[in-house]
Structures are given as structure tokens and as C-alpha cells.
């Protein structure tokens, strides 16, 4: 147990420390949120209509950024070989890597999401729900994104490939989270969208590590 805790601490520290970590993700997120009004126009009513959805899409894009380094670095310096030789199953190690990824980038992005949405003109009542969906959606993004990151190990231009693989798989969480926010903003029942987002996140947590471990074994073989 303590070894797994140590692994989690290592993964979180690596995702947090090297290469900017949450700073890069949040900076990218702020950049996208700044570009949007510049492209669409500053009229408050037009921006307010798209604010929750725009914040949500920018979140999906920002969580793509650091995926590339999730397995690639350990694959290149041989740490992944060592991890695969340890007594813990590779599935569990992949699970912990994704958990560290989520702690280091998903959670800070979830804190930034309500700020960005309100800056774009969303009503402040939305802020708790945006935070909750971003936190839950971050789990789904980290665990489905990990599949793409593991699959593109050993490929040329792995980073771009990860995005191409992962974006179609991001369709359900983006729809469920955006739908919950949209329904809440319109005074409609929003719980179904939130529950479906949670269901997708739970499935990603359960099944994603299996695919990641299979992909890692393939890359290491």
C-alpha cells in the first residue's frame, strides 16, 4: 500500500513539477477563454449564451495538453519497464498514473473553470455545478485520455496522434457535462446529465486501465 502511495506521490509530483504542469494547462485554458470573446464579439448576451459550453470545451482541450507526457517520458527513460516488472499489476499502475494526472491538472483546471465561465458571462449560480462537472469530467478525460497516450507510445508524432485518437472518445463526456450545464442554466432538470457524466467517468476508471495496460505491454514488448 505504501508503495502505491509512493507511486501516486511520484506521479503527481512529476505531473505537477516538470514542464509546468498545472500552470501550462491553466494558462492554455485562460488563453482559449480569452480568444473566444475576441473571435465571437464582446456582446454580453451572446457570450453569456455560450459561456458554460465554451468553458467546458476549452476544458476538454486543456486536458489534452499534458496527456502526451503521461507515459512517453517513462517509456523513453525506461521507468515504464521497471514499473511493469514490479509486483503490482500494470493495470493498477496505469490507474495510479491517471489519478496523478488528474490530481495535477484536472483538479486545478476544475478550479479555473468557474472563473473562466463567469468571466465569459455565465451566471454566478452556475459556478458550483461547473466546478462539480469539471471535477468529474476531468476524471473521464484523464482516464480515456490515458488510453490514447498509451496507444501512441512508440509512434511518430505521438502528441498529435493522442489528440486524434482521444477526441472522438471525448464526445460522451462533453455532451453529458455540457448538457447538464445547459439544462441547469435553462432551469430544466440537470441531474440526468450529471449522473450520466458520472457513469461515463466510472466506466472510464473501470475499463480504461485495462486498455492502457494492454497498450503499454504492447509498446514494451
Amino acid at each position: 500500500m505504501s508503495r502505491l502511495a509512493a507511486l501516486l506521490a511520484r506521479e503527481t509530483a512529476l505531473a505537477w513539477g516538470r514542464g509546468g504542469g498545472p500552470l501550462v494547462a491553466v494558462g492554455f485554458y485562460a488563453g482559449v477563454a480569452t480568444l473566444l470573446p475576441l473571435a465571437i464579439g464582446p456582446e454580453p448576451e451572446r457570450l453569456a449564451a455560450i459561456a458554460p459550453g465554451a468553458a467546458w470545451v476549452a476544458l476538454a482541450l486543456a486536458s489534452l495538453l499534458s496527456l502526451e507526457r503521461l507515459f512517453e517520458r517513462d517509456y523513453e527513460d525506461g521507468a515504464l519497464d521497471l514499473l511493469s516488472l514490479s509486483s503490482a499489476p500494470l493495470e493498477l499502475i496505469c490507474f495510479i498514473k491517471c489519478l496523478g494526472q488528474w490530481l495535477a491538472t484536472g483538479a486545478p483546471l476544475a478550479l479555473a473553470a468557474p472563473v473562466a465561465a463567469i468571466a465569459l458571462g455565465a451566471r454566478p449560480e452556475l459556478a458550483p455545478l461547473i466546478f462539480a462537472t469539471a471535477l468529474l469530467g476531468g476524471v473521464a478525460f484523464a482516464f480515456t485520455g490515458g488510453i490514447g497516450a498509451a496507444l501512441s507510445l512508440g509512434a511518430r508524432r505521438g502528441g498529435l496522434l493522442t489528440a486524434v485518437i482521444v477526441l472522438p472518445l471525448f464526445v460522451p463526456p462533453v455532451i453529458f457535462g455540457g448538457g447538464a450545464l445547459d439544462a441547469f442554466a435553462g432551469g430544466l432538470p440537470w441531474r440526468s446529465g450529471f449522473a450520466l457524466l458520472g457513469a461515463y467517468a466510472a466506466m472510464a476508471v473501470a475499463l480504461g486501465p485495462l486498455a492502457m495496460a494492454a497498450a503499454c505491454r504492447n509498446a514494451l514488448s
Binding site: A155, R156, V164, P168, A219
Partner: protein
């Protein structure tokens, strides 16, 4: 249906079968397409859609095939992942661009049909969006395989991605349907709709059969091409190793050499 993969899993039998099956399916496809298109153009105008109803005979079978080919791709990927069968992987690799082609055809014809019907080339309708995501999945599969140099690793990574996509496709389809009911308003599709009149249904089904046999023919041709390419690579490798050294025997290769030894790994002589 389990006998078909079992029978064809032998590369020799597969090559013997596909040698005459591929052209036969091609001829059947051409004949059915000619018949179906004739019936399609002979059919009367639809009272609502006018002449544009004829696009349906091209569009709807393409959309059906788009999903059908993904099922074939996922099935072949499953077999190649579990049994590490070389021919199943060749089948998966051969199916993906065909599926992408059918999906693109469905998208383009759907958009051409949408222009006079909806007044726009693209409407964010649930079915259109699902097909678009399916196209993106095909693109991801082809891109993943193309960007890996090691063929065996590319094969297994592609198979994993195909299966991940197969698990996700129903969820994506459901989520897009859910999204469409949420953002109702622009959808022009009549849900359920009027049942299709026989004058339209008959050419549609004939065209569907034509598409199926065209896919069967093209798939077999592409698998054959893949098998020949791998044989040529294996032969080049053997030639490069020089005579007498033997070398690992390729599981897909046709010429059994006396010096072949049973290889513990199921590799098929792809250069490492």
C-alpha cells in the same frame, strides 16, 4: 457463423477462396448496382422530396455499410488480438480505409441531400453527428497504424483502439441521441416517418446488397494485397539473410522451407 473464420484462417485456403470469390463478388456488385440504380431512376418522384429521393439509394446503404464495416473491423481486431492471427490483422488493416470511404460517402451524399431538404449542407442532427464521430474513429485507427514503424506493434495497438472504439460507439450513439433531444428544434427528420413504399424499398434493398458485395470484393482484394506485400517482405528478408541461414518462417508465407524451425513467438517475419 464460426465456421467461416475457422475455414478461412488458413492462409492457403483463404488465398484459394479469395482468388475466385473477390472477382465474383465484384461482378455481383456491378450487376446489382446496375439493376438497383435502374429501378431507382425508374421510381416515381417522391411527393415530398421530389427528385432528391434518389440520393437515398446511394446514401442509405453507405451509412449502413459504415457501421457494418466497423463491426467487421472490430471482429477482425478481436481475433487478431486474442489469437495473434496474422490474417485477421490483415483483414482489420484492409477494412479500415474501406469503412472510412463508406462513411465519407454517407456524409457527402447526406449533405448533398440536406441542401435542398433542409436548406443547409450540414445540420447537427443526431444521426449525422454519430456518423461524423464514426468517421473520426476510422481516421484515428488509420492514423495510429500509419504512424508506427513496427508492424506488429502497430497491429496490436490498432486492435486495442478498434476494440476501445467498439465499446465506445454505442455510448457515443446514445449520448448524441440524448444531446439531440436536449437541443431539439432544428431537426427535420421525421422520427419513425412514413413507411417506405415498395417502389422505393426494392431499389434500396438491392443497392444495399450491391454495396455489401462491393465491400466483400474490395475487402478480399485488399487482404490479398496485404498478404502479398507481407510475403514479399518476408522473401526480401530471407534473401537478405542469405541462403542456408534459414531464418524464421513466416506464418503467412506460402513456400514452406525445409530449414524452417518452429518459432516460439507468433511473429511473421516483420523486420524489427
Amino acid at each position: 457463423m464460426t465456421w467461416a473464420p475457422a475455414f478461412l484462417s488458413n492462409p492457403e485456403r483463404f488465398m484459394a477462396f479469395s482468388r475466385w470469390a473477390a472477382p465474383m463478388f465484384g461482378v455481383i456488385a456491378l450487376a446489382l448496382a446496375a439493376w438497383g440504380l435502374y429501378l431507382g431512376f425508374a421510381a416515381p418522384e417522391d411527393y415530398q422530396q421530389g427528385q432528391t429521393v434518389r440520393i437515398m439509394f446511394i446514401h442509405v446503404p453507405a451509412a449502413w455499410l459504415a457501421s457494418f464495416v466497423y463491426v467487421c473491423l472490430a471482429g477482425a481486431s478481436f481475433l487478431s488480438l486474442i489469437f495473434r492471427h496474422a490474417l485477421a490483422d490483415a483483414a482489420a488493416q484492409a477494412a479500415a480505409p474501406l469503412g472510412a470511404g463508406f462513411t465519407l460517402l454517407a456524409l457527402v451524399t447526406g449533405s448533398l441531400w440536406g441542401r435542398p431538404m433542409w436548406g443547409a449542407y450540414w445540420v447537427w442532427d443526431a444521426r449525422l453527428t454519430s456518423v461524423l464521430v464514426l468517421f473520426l474513429l476510422y481516421v484515428a485507427y488509420v492514423a495510429l497504424r500509419a504512424s508506427m514503424d513496427d508492424e506488429q506493434k502497430a497491429a496490436r495497438a490498432g486492435a486495442i483502439l478498434a476494440l476501445v472504439g467498439a465499446v465506445n460507439l454505442p455510448i457515443i450513439h446514445y449520448s448524441v441521441d440524448w444531446w439531440n433531444t436536449l437541443h431539439q428544434g432544428s431537426s427535420v427528420f421525421r422520427e419513425g416517418g412514413p413507411t417506405l413504399a415498395p417502389v422505393f424499398l426494392q431499389p434500396l434493398l438491392i443497392m444495399a446488397l450491391a454495396y455489401m458485395s462491393a465491400f466483400g470484393s474490395l475487402w478480399l482484394v485488399r487482404i490479398r494485397g496485404e498478404v502479398w506485400r507481407r510475403r514479399a517482405e518476408a522473401a526480401a528478408l530471407r534473401a537478405a539473410r542469405g541462403p542456408g541461414t534459414g531464418g524464421s518462417r513466416c506464418s503467412i508465407s506460402s513456400t514452406p522451407s525445409s530449414s524452417s524451425r518452429p518459432s516460439p513467438s507468433p511473429s511473421w517475419c516483420s523486420p524489427r
